[in-house]
Structures are given as C-alpha cells and as structure tokens.
Amino acid sequence: MSVTFKSLETILERYPPSPEHLISALQEVQAKFSYLPKEALAAVCDHLGVPLSQGWAVATFYKSFSLEPKGEHEISVCLGTACHVRGAKNLYDKFRRDLDIAGEEGTTRDLKFTLRPVRCLGCCSMGPVAQVDDEVYGNLNQRKAGALIKQYRQR
C-alpha cells in the first residue's frame, strides 16, 4: 500500500490546493489505479480543500469515474444512434451473455473484463462498433463479438 500512496503523492504534488483541479486530479487517479479507491478519493479532496461530499458528487456524476476496481480489459460497446439502428442492442446483449454479466454493466468475477455501454465513439460509419482498451473494432456482429472475447481471453 505504501507504493500505492507514493504514486498518489506524485499526482497530487502537481496540483495547487484549489477546488478547480478536482476533476483533473481524479481523472489522473482513475487512470493510474483504473478506479477511485476510497482512500485516494479522500486524499485528493483533502489536498484540494474540497469536502468529501463534493468529491463524491463529482465521482458519481461523471461516467468516466468508477468506485469499483475495473477488469483487465475494458470493453465499451457503442450504443449511439447510428449503431443502434444497425443492431447495437442485440450486440450488447451478446457481450453480456458471453461475459455472464447480470446487470446492465459490470465486471466479470475473474476481473478479466469490464463491460459498459458508451454513447457514441464517433466511428458511426463503421457501426456497430466496440472498443476494447484502446482498439476500436468496427462492423461487428454477434458472431464477431464472440470471437473477440475469445481472442482477449487468451491474451
């Protein structure tokens, strides 16, 4: 844990103690740990002089923040309009079924994948699309989605 907090300190050092940096600082923490650990959220708020309640409000308002640990690979399936009219809902359900995710979104028990819907990746011409980590996959269908999961499971 000491290592963890060391890297947190290096993030905080760069921010003057002023509330306007809350979102940017939390984004860096999120990028570092892939989620916002409770202690880290408290430490950021403390450093910037923001009440924890406001930190909580921000962390739960914006979709890019997560209070739960994320899986090794993050799958974002686009549910934008262009993808929707090309069957994105069925595609999303296929991912949910294959990854055995009970709710609308979530992380697999083995912490291998996190699945979440995203509203438009801006690749509407190739819809339906999904993004795994930093790679965008276009013109998907349910069969290709199944193959994609298999491919990442083996990595």
């Binding site: 509330p19 306007e20 940096h21 809350l22 979102i23 940017s24 984004q27 923001v50 406001q54 409000a57 921000v58 308002f61 914006y62 979709k63 890019s64 923040f65 549910l79 934008g80 309009t81 262009a82 929707h84 009219v85 090309r86 069957g87 069925n90 359900d93 296929k94 079924r97 995203v118 509203r119 438009c120 990746l121 801006g122 690749c123 509407c124 011409s125 190739m126 819809g127 699309v129 930093d134 965008v136 996959y137 276009g138 269908n141 349910q142 069969r143």
Partner: protein, 636 residues
C-alpha cells in the same frame, strides 16, 4: 521555430508548401479515428517499413479524414506535377502492392477511387493546379473527385485542411494560409471590426442553437468584468455526430486560430477547450497543437509583437452529455458536477467563475479564420440568406455512402440521402432522417424537399443540432427510436429539475406499454401532454428539447404507434414482445450456421435439411438472422 513577424510567416509557409507538395513522391494515409478503426495503422506501418527497406526516396505521412468514411482506409499518392490520386479500402497487403508499383515508377490502378486535379487551398490564393501537363492513359480516364456523387455537391471550407495536412505539423497549416487571418486581424483590424465582419458574415453557432456568433461576441465584449474567458465546446455528445472529432484530429490549429481571433475581438487573455475524454486521439492532437503553437509564439504573451496575449488550457470531459450545455460545461471546468443553471443571467455576462465567458463549438471556431481571411461578403455568398456558409453533417445509419459531408446550407434532404448518400440498401425503403441528436427530431419522406438550414428544420420540429444525420429505413421502428432517445436522455439527465428527471421516466413507461402491445389510444394523448409539460417546465435546453424525438415521431408516424396499440404489431419487426422468429423451410438449406450461433439451442435440425426453430426457447436476439446467408430466418 518562432513566428513573430510576417517574414517568419512567409518562411514557414514556403517550407510547408515544399513539404505538402515535395519534388519527390509522397504517400499519405488517412489516420483519424475512423481510419484507424478500419486498420489504417497497419497500412501505415506496412508502407513505412517497405519504404525504409527499399531505401525509397519519397515520403510517407499521416493525415486527417477527408470524409469518405465508407471507403476507409484511404491512401493518397502525390507525385510531382500529377493530380493527387486517392486509393480506397486499402489493406496492408494492397498497400504493399501499391508501394511496389510506386517504387517501380508506375501508377497503381487497383483500388483507385478518384483523382484531384486542383487543390482548393481556399485561404491561400485559391485553386492550385496539381496536374502540370496533359493527362494520358489511365489518368486521363480516371474519375475525378467532382465525378463522385458523394463529393459533387460538397464544398470543404471548415474541413479545408482535413486530409491534406499532417495535423501535428504547424508549417503545413501555415502553407495553406493558416494563421494569416489571425495576423490580419491583429495588425489591420480593430476588435470592433472583427466582430462586425463575423456579424455581417451571418455566422451562426454550429453546436446546436444556431445563435448569431457576432451578436454573442459583441455582448461579451461589452460585458463588465475581468478576466474574460473564451471557451471551445469540444464535448461532442450527440450520438451519431463526429465532425468535431474529425476537425480536431485533422486540423487542430484552425480551432486555435479561430479562438485567438475571437479572444482578440472580445478582449480575453485566457481560453479553455473542453474536450470529450472518449476521444483519446483528439485529446492528444489538441495537446500537441497547443504545445507547438506556444513554442512558436502563436499562443502566449505579445503575439506577433502586437501586445495581444492569449493562452489556452485543455479540460477533459468526464463523459456526461449534459456538459455540452453551456452552464453545465462551465460548472464542470470549475471542478463541479455538470449541472446547468437557469440562464436569466447570460453566460456572456456571468459564466465561468462568474466572469464574462464566450462559448462556441469546434466547427464555429474553425469557420472564423475563413471570414477574416476571405471577407464577410465572400462568406455570406455561400449558403442561404438566413443560414450562411457551409455545414458539416455526419451522414450515417441505413445509407450506402456513409461519412462526413460538408455542403453549403440549403441543400435538400432528398439530395443528401439519395444523391450524396446513394440511398438506402436496395431491399428497403427510406423512412425518415433523424437530425439534431436527442434534442432533434425525425423528418419523414414527405418532407424531403425541405432545405436543410436552421429555420426550416426547427419549423419541422427538429433542429440542426451539431449535424448528426441518421438515415432510417423500413427496418427501423419509430416507437423503438423514441424509446432509444428517451433511454439516452434518462441516463444523461443531471437530475436537478423535476420535469426532466421524472417526466422522461414516465414517458418511457408509456412507450414500453406500446412496444409490449399493452398501450391504449388514451396513452397516446397522455404521452403528448406529458411531452409538452417536460418541454415547458425544464430548466435547461437538454430537458426543454428532450421530448422532440417523441413529438416528431408522434407527429409524422402516428400510424406506427397505432399499429403497436391497435394491431399489436411492430411493422418494422423490431419490438421484441411483438415479433416471433421462424425459419422458412423453402429457403433453408441446412447449413447449420444459425444453429451454431444460437445461444439458446433453440434451433435444431439435420445437416443439409431445413432446420426448425423452437419459439419457446427463442430469446429473439437475432443472432441467427445475422449469420443466415440465404434470408431463411423470418421475423413476423
């Protein structure tokens, strides 16, 4: 290099021109996000590797997106004295073959798309002839850009540099007349004259509302308070619109230059760009552009030695649609949740940190250098009287030619879908065009002669919005579309005001009744009145326009709603409670593809014999229909 004087500008410009059109062969790869999603990185890697291995005396470079998304990955070949040649759907293998041909001094003919004889270079003295001699053989017969239906009606003004320059290269931008408009504004014009030019040009906000940009700038200039902020809205949240992403990824300096001119006009020294974190490449491109501009002295203190100072900070959005709303966006930059506030005090008076703030979107900023560089009268001559200039649309959905389209305002929906888009897939019929995103509406075929401009669209119940245009055909259910947008808006509602937070949920429940076949005609009236209430009672524009998709589908597609209610049928065969899947034994040849794909084991049968589908097990996921090559899966 430092750019402080006109001489520095001219030097950088000629250096840039020599790079854009060098005296040796050059290969360009379109590497915006859409190109990358189609595999452009591997194409680029193949080309650079082969060029390296062959000790080739030529250049391989990346560029942005020229809009032909349905033909990605695109590769361009620029040979001295020849037209620019574009190749489509280039895989790494094809790129390898293409390179071999070029290295051997031949002109590749495979996967050829079109040739460009003149480079428009609108901000650098007009068309530059690329073909220096009479074309012969293959080239003479090869189609020109202007011959392509997708391109013929287009005019790339905001997208003037996209697909031509390396977005990270400042000299490329200067070579095409970049930053000369800023120089002109700072050295020849008063701030008032700049505002006057933008006002006379008739530029209206490209982000949604279509508010006159000059009027906004003038109010912000007049507002009391210091410092004043100039902001760029790059939180492109409208699903189905991606022109802002493409502009940033292809030509980031055009946005910086627009903001600099705006800051000079308004009297501001500090700017912010609020960009979606979901666009990692756009974020990186902007970061680099700001850094390069700062190093060159185009951002920072005493720009061109005129005493004018301005710098820009980048803020990453947290993934909230509502942050595209001006007050929510400002609240987010302040480090708070992005909740809008009532706007009886305008943001030009009290915006970011309660200081006068001027917010425009990416495309609006990119238009500003054109107005200053070419003059208000020139700009005004394009488009219609009330909506001047061009607009970029993302033409997507059920249409053959998908991509970014920049056309003069006033083009008809029919031309957009039938001509530019090439129509809907053969076996289906055009039904509607959805424009304006979740705040917009669906416009039916009966109205397809309607000119696309700010005022005609709002008259029809939609809005221009940021220019997302989703084509819908007979396979799209309008009740489902209304449900889709409500789901989106419920998800994205910030929850501050009741009409939006609760009203939308109730509307969604009524729609669910329809799509499960349980609704009544009285519910239709209820939906209508609830929509009006949400529209009137919401605090911000997100809530105020949220019922538009429902209202326009009710207005133009009432028969579809009635089919769900009275006949318990979904005419487009989308709503799962009202459809059943079956296999047509006459078309099924027993290839077993569907049975392998079915997650439920609902499909059984002997190989090479027609299969059967057990409706009791079927979850209507449609996987079988997707894989069937014989059209044997029927949905009724």
């Amino acid at each position: 290099m430092q750019i402080r004087t006109l001489e520095d500008m001219q030097t950088a410009k000629s250096l840039g021109l020599a790079q854009l059109y060098p005296d040796k062969p050059k290969i360009l790869v379109g590497m915006a996000t859409c190109g990358l999603a189609a595999g452009a990185q591997r194409v680029f890697n193949t080309l650079t590797r082969q060029a390296h291995e062959a000790h080739w005396d030529g250049v391989v470079e990346k560029t942005g997106c020229i809009g032909f998304c349905y033909k990605e990955p695109l590769v361009d070949l620029i040979l001295p004295g020849k037209p620019r040649l574009t190749y489509e759907k280039v895989t790494p293998e094809i790129a390898g073959e293409l390179f071999q041909e070029v290295a051997a001094g031949r002109i590749p003919e495979n996967h050829f798309m079109a040739r460009l004889d003149e480079d428009d270079m609108v901000l650098n003295g007009g068309p530059h002839k690329l073909a220096k001699s009479k074309l012969k053989g293959f080239l003479a017969k090869a189609p020109r850009y202007e011959d392509l239906e997708f391109y013929k009606l287009q005019r790339h003004l905001a997208m003037r540099n996209c697909g031509f320059i390396d977005p990270d290269n400042l000299q490329h931008y200067l070579a095409r007349g970049g930053y000369f408009a800023l120089y002109k504004a700072l050295t020849e014009m008063t701030p008032e004259a700049v505002i006057e030019a933008v006002t006379v040009a008739g530029l209206r906000g490209r982000g949604g509302g279509g508010f006159p940009t000059g009027v906004k700038w003038a109010s912000c200039r007049k507002a009391k308070g210091w410092p004043k902020y100039v902001l760029c809205n790059a939180d492109e949240g409208d699903p189905g619109a991606y022109m802002d992403r493409s502009l940033i990824e292809g030509d980031p300096h055009s946005i910086l230059e627009g903001m600099l001119i705006g800051a000079y006009a308004i009297g501001s020294t500090e700017g912010f760009i609020y960009v979606r974190a979901e666009y990692p490449l756009a974020v990186k491109t902007l970061q680099r552009a700001i850094l390069v501009a700062r190093e060159a002295g185009l951002l920072g203190d005493n720009i061109f030695g005129t005493g004018f100072s301005f710098d820009i900070k980048l803020n990453l959005g947290g993934g909230a649609f509502v942050c595209g709303e001006s007050t929510a966006l400002m609240s987010s930059i302040e480090g708070k949740p992005g909740e809008p506030r009532a706007k009886y005090v305008h943001t030009v008076d009290k915006g970011l940190w309660n200081r006068p703030s001027n917010l425009n979107n990416v495309e609006t900023w990119a238009n500003v250098p054109l107005i200053i560089g070419k003059g208000a009268d020139w700009y005004k001559s394009i488009g219609t009287e009330g909506s001047t200039g061009t607009k970029i649309f993302s033409l997507v959905g059920q249409v053959k030619n998908v991509g970014l389209v920049e056309v003069p305002m006033g083009i008809s929906i029919k031309d957009m879908v039938e001509f530019i888009g090439g129509g809907v897939p053969e076996t289906r019929q055009f039904k509607a065009i959805q424009i304006g995103g979740p705040s917009g509406g669906c416009i039916p075929k009966e109205l397809w002669d309607l000119p696309i401009d700010f005022d005609s669209l709002s008259g029809a119940g939609a809005i221009m919005g940021s220019g997302g245009m989703i084509v819908m055909d007979s396979s799209t259910c309008m009740v489902d579309v209304a449900k889709f947008f409500l789901d989106f808006l419920i998800d994205e509602s910030c929850g501050k005001c009741i009409p939006c937070r609760l009203g939308l949920k109730r509307m969604r429940e009524i729609l669910e009744e329809f799509s499960s076949g349980k609704g009544s005609l009285a519910d239709l009236d209820e939906l209508q009145s609830l929509s009006e209430a949400v529209k009137d009672g919401s605090l911000c524009a997100l809530g105020g326009s949220a019922p538009n998709p429902v209202l326009t589908t009710l207005r133009y597609f009432r028969d579809e709603y009635e089919a769900h209610i009275l006949d318990h049928k979904c005419p487009a065969a989308v709503c799962k409670d009202l459809i059943t899947f079956s296999i047509n034994p006459e078309l099924c040849n027993g290839c077993t593809a569907c049975a392998q794909e079915c997650p439920q084991g609902a499909i059984t049968g002997v190989k090479k014999q027609p299969h059967q589908l057990n409706p009791a097990l079927c979850i209507k996921c449609g996987a079988c229909k997707e894989v069937c090559k014989f059209g044997a899966v029927a949905v009724s």
